[in-house]
Subunit: 337 residues, 2 copies
């Protein structure tokens, strides 16, 4: 969102006809539009939620940025990017502020272990109440802090997800998989996992126009070093897609080694973009399997599309990100048979 001071903060990279009166409030208005159209069960803010350097008061800026979700009583989660801490709050301070806000499902960090960064946590989505799945997490959401900038003198550029975070992620995934698959009713493959963080991984550079959906209009601004989080996700075995922010005018999803690597595309108006290329939001939709006897079971598919902040709030690039059995790990059919 790159939110700053609200009404007094001008838009960047909009058409000449849109400049007059365009402010952070356009970002706010776009949030309300998408929320009303999609009625989401969860909102995820993928970092650079505020643009700290232009925010007079980082806490107030964050409150204003997130306000529409709270106002509409939507549960929400957030990770931090590389600009959130550039104002009156440190990275730690920004994350502490976020976890104290209303309706948030975000956490500061896991308890009892030492870990790099701020805002590494996971959320479990239970199966339907009253079914055999109601004590299982049928969908796992992982949130990680991908840092801001390198602190190693010999390495320039952006930050990265550290080994300590990867071990936490893998242990969490492994324990969730064991619970899901071993306990009654036993499941044949893990519940799908979705991962959210701010800075794209170097592996986002693996795609060409022929093997992704969406556009790539700028370079992949990943860290200049590969810290191995893609490998950790692949090893974990349950991750079906990862979602990042950071690059405003890339908005693609591409699949590598069974994992969809996705951008949303830029959302905020006080952020670089491309005049005439609408601000956008990625939407995820998760479907449950229903047995012949009518009982809801685990997740069978995950779909995505983007909403554009244009006249019709256009829906574009609809696609299936994952279907049960589609990764060939356990050779199931898309219908779960």
């Amino acid at each position: 969102m790159h939110y700053a001071d609200g009404r007094s903060t001008a838009c960047e990279d909009v058409l000449p006809s849109q400049v007059a009166g365009c402010t952070d409030l356009n970002t706010t208005a776009f949030l309300y539009r998408v929320f009303r159209a999609e009625d989401p069960d969860l909102v995820v803010f993928t970092g650079d939620n505020i643009y700290g350097a232009d925010s007079t008061d980082a806490a107030k800026s964050m409150d204003a940025a997130i306000a529409p979700a709270i106002d509409m009583k939507l549960p929400w989660a957030a990770v931090i990017g590389n600009h959130d801490q550039e104002g009156t709050l440190s990275r730690e301070g920004v994350m502490r502020h976020l976890v104290g806000m209303k309706n948030t499902l975000a956490s500061f960090n896991p308890e009892g272990i030492e870990i790099d960064g701020y805002g590494n946590y996971n959320l479990e989505v239970s199966g339907v109440e009253g079914t055999s799945m109601d004590e299982k997490s049928v969908l796992n959401l992982y949130f990680l802090d991908s840092g801001d900038y390198s602190t190693v003198p010999s390495i320039n550029g952006y930050g990265w997800i550290k080994a300590s975070q990867q071990v936490w992620f893998q242990q969490t995934s492994s324990s969730l998989q064991a619970k899901y698959m071993n306990k009654n009713p036993k499941q044949k493959e893990p519940a799908p996992g979705l991962v959210f963080f701010h800075i794209p991984l170097p592996e986002f550079s693996s795609f060409t126009a022929s093997n992704f959906t969406g556009v790539k209009q700028e370079g992949i601004s990943s860290a200049s070093i590969n810290s191995g989080f893609f490998a950790s996700m692949v090893e974990a075995g349950d991750v079906r897609a990862a979602f990042v922010g950071h690059d405003h005018i890339n908005d693609f999803c591409g699949k590598l080694s069974g994992i969809q690597l996705c951008y949303a595309g830029g959302f905020g108006y006080h952020a670089y973009g491309k005049a005439g290329w609408s601000r956008r939001a990625r939407v995820l939709s998760v479907q449950l399997e229903k047995t012949d006897s009518g009982e809801w079971r685990g997740v069978k598919s995950i779909k995505t599309w983007k909403r554009l902040d244009d006249k019709h709030l256009s829906t574009i690039d609809s696609e299936v990100l994952w279907n049960r059995g589609s990764n060939g790990r356990r050779g199931k059919n898309p219908d779960g048979s």
Copy 2:
């Protein structure tokens, strides 16, 4: 070394004139030659010490392979490669056998933590006895198991160093650095670290002929995924060089982000190679600083060269891998001032 059954195991890729009578015993003879010429304080075997598939008895093969070091009473360390476990011992079994052998400084794994692989350990080299450095480790050696093959269905090829190993490595490095730098006499930069494992990192592909010393005669057979160990070494801040085996006819060292990435080049005769291109061994030489008053202090430089198994046991590609102050981390001069 790719050792198999000894006298009955033929050489690979030698000149027609060398084929007759060439066996694993040529590998043994080369070990003795190098040991006599260099009189090393420590020998490091960097994996594929035996070629399990051709070894009738893996334990006996390992005993025979390492025998010259034991015979000459040289302390030695080892990591395992991707071929050691192809015989009658598992990876765990091979490492357990190694740590039970005479004169070894190898360990099975760190105590008290869960870690991937077999043979992750470190060695400390104390400063000169009777000096102010005699309770400090002035040189740190790290040994890791880089695995054998991917066990993830969607990833082909070789194994990799996992996040759990990287966290152990970073914690070990961090604790060694704290001891070295904070305790009397305080030191301005960490003691140099050297890392040994079998499979090259993807970053070994970063070099062109213009920025390495040695040769690159085949592709870099790293894992097909980047698990981030290079990033972990750079983050740690004390590592000056990493040494691998695996590719027999690459023998270069190249420097990336302050770390020398080095091959030795193939040593063993029952291993692919290049006929007419001598088998070789990398030698490391570490120099201590001496103060004006004649007291030995920490390490001031690390040099390397290779010995060829030719008529004169030729020394080639001598170079300085690291000089105190040369990485610009703390802006010291090469003389330590």
